[in-house]
Amino acid sequence: MSAQKKKAFQIEAFKHRVVVDPKYAEKTWKILEHAIHEIYNHNASGLSFEELYRNAYNMVLHKFGEKLYSGLVTTMTSHLKAISSSIEAAQGGLFLDELNRKWAEHNKAMQMIRDILMYMDRTFIPNTHKTPVHELGLNLWRDVVIHSSAVQTRLQAILLENVRRERSGEVIDRGLMRSISKMLMDLGPSVYQDDFEKHFLEVSADFYRLESQDFIESCDCGEYLKKAERRLNEEIERVSHYLDAKSEVKITNVVEKEMIENHMHRLVQMENSGLVNMIVDEKYEDLGRMYCLFRRVPNGLVLVRDVMTSYIRDTGKQLVTDPERLKDPVDFVQHLLDLKDKYDKIITSAFSNDKTFQNALNSSFEYFMNLNSRSPEFISLFVDDKLRKGLRGVTEEDVELVLDKVMMLFRYLQEKDVFEKYYKQHLAKRLLSGKTVSEDAERSLIVKLKTECGYQFTSKLEGMFTDMKTSQDTMQGFSARHGADIADGPMLSVQVLTTGSWPTQPITTCNLPAEIRGMCEKFRNYYLGTHTGRRLSWQTNMGTADLKATFGKGQKHELNVSTYQMCVLMLFNNADRLSYKEIEQPTEIPASDLKRCLQSLACVKGKNVLRKEPMSKDIADTDTFLFNDKFTSKFFKVKIGTVAAQRESEPENQETRQRVEEDRKPQIEAAIVRIMKARRVLDHNNIVAEVTKQLQSRFLPNPVVIKKRIESLIEREFLERDKGDRKLYRYLA
């Protein structure tokens, strides 16, 4: 230790006496080489870690790192070569075992060697950009062992063979497989992929191609799908047990493609067991399976959805064009509801409520329901039937359910204005005959319609209810006032209807019997007394009457008849026999109504309170009518009045259609004017599109009709054609 005066106190490193032995490197290396040998020969216990570490350290320190490194490489390589041979020598099934064992040993050895050579690993190797020890160990293992031609091919073959055996039902050593595949992963993802996965996928594809071909020839659709599902699950399980997780999606793709995608069409269309059959037979499980499997392949669900859609459309179309079915509107609508329920159930339970399927169902219903122009009428008749008797005794919740389902069908209608017309008619009949099961149900439906279509749609309907209520109050007032003097006469019940809210009726009158006339006058005066400025007209074609009748042997019956029928029957109080003309004259009932009325009184079995001569089916001007003394009926109360709402006859239907068309014209014109007022100038196609959009909640306007309306508006100078561009229309303020 040298000390210098007047200098700061310094500490210097303790210096060894360096032994400069020319053979130093070689000697040290030999020690290490020997250690490596021992390690590989499982004789590591006799080694001193500290000493070996120090040796390695010194070599690197004295700049012999290169020699150390290259020595390491050489030594390891030769060891690995020997190992490789021993693996190659292993027979049959022991190959993998041997490989696996040697790999484990190699790893242990590598760890030890690395520990010893840690200094080199941390200094020399980074400085010289050489491969670190651990990685070197892996690379050498890969290059010398795994990629030795014999091992490589054999390894691949055995792995694939194991998979094949497992697929055909044999049990294999999964643990071993796992270790091997982990080994490949450790060697580098490309090793795993190139040496195993790539071939695995290819071979699997071939396997499944063959298998699917075999299945499809021998199984029906349901069975096939079960098998496919099983195979798919198997593969997923296989991956989780002994393959790399990233292989899962690749192998499932292979299965999906080979087993499902390649046979998609054939499966769906399979006779007697395909999609359509599953739907018809309500095979929810099979359908669910199909959905899950087909969801996995591109366009799988599109195919399922398309086939389902065209099936629904076809069956729907058949339903709405089948004359047999159309005979009973209530039955027809019930069928529609059942059909919808069926498909809803399928979509919920098997197709996991898939929105696209729901949409396809909706569009199909919309398509075929509107193929039959009478759908709106029939739906109204269905509702009428329900509100008249169908919902009697049904709980409130269930009523709501039925009405909601009806609303669903209503939404599919393109011609909602036609529905409105019929609904109004039928509602009027129900209200006036007092034949509604539950007013709450009626109101509930009105609310639903209002929510769907807006206030305008239902304002008149609500007006009808109001009128009924008001009439009740009016009657109370009337009886209160005139109670005494009308007590003797026939009991009168009047409903005062606001024109405009109720369906338009043709103006008819007839001569009421004297007794009735008096009462009516009293009421009229009473009413006009409290409501000046109003005009009342008796709607003799809409009223009803209850008559007490006594027949030949004293049988008494109460007859419920229409006003017209009452007028006719009252005549027989003064005569037993009357000719057609003798009836027509005093009553002044219009001919067609009179004929219908007489028919229901004289020609219907069980209701023939009159007899007709001659006994022909039709009413002729020359017929004579007699009071039927011998009339009998099981019931005390006999209903002969006009029946409940029925489906219209062809000519009536035509008439209603015409009226609807007429009603639409002003609506279209109003829409055109509204649009043109806002836009000022617009071309033809856009007007048509806008008008259609505005009116679509009520009906689908015909473009030709729109054009006609435009021309009419041009003629009336609301619009003009643009002088420069013929295709444009201009709003004229």
Binding site: N685, P703, E711, R726, K727
Partner: protein
Amino acid sequence: MPPRASKRKSAPPNSSSVTSSDGRSVSNKAKTKGMDKIDRLFNTYANSSLGVIDPEGIEALCSDLGVDYTDVRILMLAWKLKAEKQGYFTQDEWQTGLKALGVDSLTKLKKALPELEKEVEEPSNYEDFYIYAFQYCLTEEKQKSVDIESICELLNLVLGVQFRPQVDSLVEYLKVQNDYKVINADQWINFLRFCKEQISFPDLENYDATQAWPLILDNFVEWMREKQS
């Protein structure tokens, strides 16, 4: 132009005189002299009690011009005169019209007819003339449409030369269809546009019914296509 009267009337002699006050300037006198001739010509054909040239007069004029009274050139003359009432020329219309034509005698008028034709056929005037032809047929007050018969004749007269095939087919169609019993101004103008817009005829390939053609033309095209298939 279908005039009302059917019998011919011989031209009355050139006997009426025109009054002029003395002390006028030379140019004025020349003008008045010119006016004189025009007025005299007017009076040749005018109905003296009505003070206008009536259908009979027009027929006579036609015969003197050597032109049939149903000839389109008379219609053109009416257009030039801006005649308001069909079958009648007022004195004002006559004066303004003949001055515009730059003629003051029958011979000159006759010579001016071919030029008038050319003038009408100029694109800037043609549409105006075409529309005028329709309005000329609106004889009643508040009348807005013309009956099919007359329209057919008018089409022949006005468009027949330039668009013979279209006119022939259109006229045939108008006569057989029963959607429309009269034609309004909007439909009328669109007939011309139909011909002018070079809708390929007779195949009508480039006709687009979704465009703003009046319905009557849509129906016409459909009828043509059905006929051809």
